[in-house]
């Protein structure tokens, strides 16, 4: 009779608290933008703003799967400060196959706080220029900042600094090259100056003239009255109004 009562209580507790079985499986999954890689043996480094709980440093929490949901054999390593996890495939990635890097929400910080979601980063061998060609190692920031690392592709792949306020790091190093490309084009009644910028530049000006934002990090200014050989100083500003980079262009 006592056994039946205990069994009944267990069943009841499972009905009332289904989360006991679900655990972290019920948390949300966030899929980041797909990345194109060039190195078929590319390793990924996940940087956290706090040391992670060593108990959660395991292959179930950091893994790579192919498009048929088969797990790719990979090695894990943890940095000395226990904030960086590197996952390296044991065999090369295949072309035309999309792979998925998973960082499970089961990962805990040293102070036992769970990640609040599963993070999935799809990637594929391709020719996109989002990747740093010189870097074999890429930092993936946790959580929902999929583009933050694309802004620093020209600097480094693994030196993201944790935000002082965020629990987990968001890659925030401003790239050295913020005015990525400045071009001029002459039309019969005005000149066209277009500036491709990094993620960090939110405003571009030439003197008092503000460039029009066209989307996708492209700013354009149509300016009448410029003379051939005239020098124009173009400034890229951050969201807080700080000048991130200045460039001089000569009107053709």
């Amino acid at each position: 009779m006592k056994k039946i009562t205990i069994l009944f209580m267990m069943v009841c507790s499972l009905i009332v608290f289904p989360g006991i079985l679900q655990g972290q499986a019920s948390i949300k999954e966030v899929t980041l933008n797909e990345r194109a890689i060039q190195d078929p043996m590319k390793s990924w480094t996940i940087t956290f703003s706090q040391p992670i709980n060593k108990g959660t440093f395991k292959k179930q929490n950091f893994l790579i799967k192919d498009d048929k949901k088969r797990q790719v054999k990979a090695k894990l390593s943890l940095s000395k400060d226990e904030r960086k996890v590197t996952i390296t495939p044991e065999s090369p990635y295949k072309k035309e196959v999309t792979y998925y890097l998973y960082v499970k929400g089961n990962v805990k910080s040293g102070s036992n706080q769970f990640l609040n979601e599963h993070t999935v980063l799809p990637f594929k061998i391709g020719t996109a220029s989002k990747e740093s060609k010189s870097s074999n190692e890429k930092t993936v920031t946790n959580a929902k900042q999929p583009t933050s690392s694309s802004g620093k592709t020209s600097s480094s792949g693994s030196n993201s600094k944790p935000s002082s306020n965020s629990k987990y790091s968001t890659s925030s190093k401003t790239p050295e090259k913020n005015l990525v490309k400045v071009q001029t084009k002459k039309h019969s009644h005005f000149d066209e100056i277009s500036v491709q910028v990094s993620d960090y530049v939110t405003k571009v000006k030439a003197g008092s003239d503000e460039f029009e934002y066209k989307g996708n990090n492209l700013f354009v200014l149509y300016k009448p009255g410029l003379k051939s050989g005239e020098k124009i100083t173009v400034k890229g500003y951050s969201m807080s109004g700080k000048v991130l980079e200045t460039k001089e262009v000569v009107i053709p």
Binding site: S163, N165, Y168, T174, G215, G225
Partner: protein
């Protein structure tokens, strides 16, 4: 001889009596007619701010406006286009519509009765002629096909070519973005939250749509909802929308729509969360000098700052060009 003289005097007297009468009958023979119209019948690229004028061959004494009609063609059918007032100005009849003409439309001016009393009689003929307000893209003329502009300048003087800046409706866009994570070290982490406020003019605005974009992909989208009650301002609307889990670097595309679900204004702004800050807020206000106005090419060429303002305040693709016939 005396008799002959008498006949001659009588003939001269008769002539002096009859001549004025003959003159009058000559002038009465010039029946009331239309000298010309502006815009001319079948004109194609009539500016939307054009004056509709009909010139007669005599001064206008009175108008019976009930016989004067203006129609706008839509989907093959002419619909009444309300007239605000009809005025006389010497020999010209001036028709003022209640609202501005629209782009890419056909209009028909019609008299269907004794519409105008002239000094030389009543104009009582049926009149019907059409003109169109088609436009040429400023972008096409200035960037894509500069040869077309040269051809145009062969036909029209710069004072006859008019560029119209689009009306703008967005007054302000503000973004408050909280990154994923806790605000303080001892707090539990939670998802990123983003609030976007859009302040618009109230005229013509029905709804506002927001796209959160990255690398030309739409990450999230939705219609912003209108803020009502005490927070609403006079002659302005405020719309707001919230998103969660969006990245720290993205584009916000705001599209303003009218009742017919047509886009009447749009704006793309770039957002980048600030380094080391959990919450980044950003506000951009817009003031336009040229919005909704038309400028002749002569004005634009003679005032460089005006040309500069026109180019910086409007997308070139949204500026429309029309020509005025002389």
């Amino acid at each position: 001889m005396k008799k002959l003289k008498g006949i001659g005097v009588a003939f001269i007297l008769l002539l002096s009596i009859l001549m004025p009468a003959l003159n009058q009958s000559v002038s009465a023979a010039a029946a009331p007619r239309i000298d010309h119209t502006s815009p001319a019948a079948n004109e194609q690229n009539v500016p939307i701010d054009t004056d509709i004028r009909i010139y007669f061959n005599s001064d206008i004494r009175g108008i019976s406006s009930q016989y004067i009609k203006l129609f706008e063609k839509s989907n093959g059918t002419y619909y009444d286009f309300p007239i605000k007032t009809v005025k006389k100005d010497g020999e010209a009849l001036h028709i003022l519509p209640e609202k501005s003409l629209g782009f890419n439309k056909e209009y028909m001016v019609q008299f269907n009765g004794p519409a105008v009393d002239l000094q030389n009689g009543t104009y009582n003929q049926h009149l019907s002629y059409t003109f169109q307000t088609n436009y040429i893209d400023f972008y096409e003329l200035m960037v894509v096909n500069e040869g077309r502009l040269m051809n145009m300048l062969d036909t029209y003087a710069p004072r006859q070519i008019k560029a119209f800046a689009p009306k703008r409706y967005i007054n302000e866009i503000s973004v408050i973005h909280k990154k994923t994570g806790s605000l303080k070290g001892d707090q539990a982490s939670f998802n990123g939250i983003t609030n976007i406020d859009i302040n618009t003019k109230s005229e013509d605005v029905a709804s506002v749509h927001v796209d959160i974009m990255k690398n030309d992909n739409i990450l999230q989208k939705g219609y912003a909802s209108k803020v009502t009650g005490t927070k609403a301002s006079k002659n302005q609307f405020t719309f707001d929308i919230g998103f969660s889990n969006i990245p720290d670097f993205y584009d916000v595309r705001v599209t303003v729509l009218n009742n017919a679900q047509q886009t009447i204004d749009s704006k793309i702004i770039k957002f980048a969360a600030e380094d080391g800050k959990a919450i980044t807020s950003f506000k951009e206000s817009y003031k336009y000098k040229t919005a909704g106005n038309g400028y002749t090419f002569h004005e634009l060429l003679s005032k460089e700052s005006l040309f500069s303002d026109l180019l910086s305040e409007s997308l070139m693709q949204d500026i429309k060009v029309q020509v005025e016939d002389r």
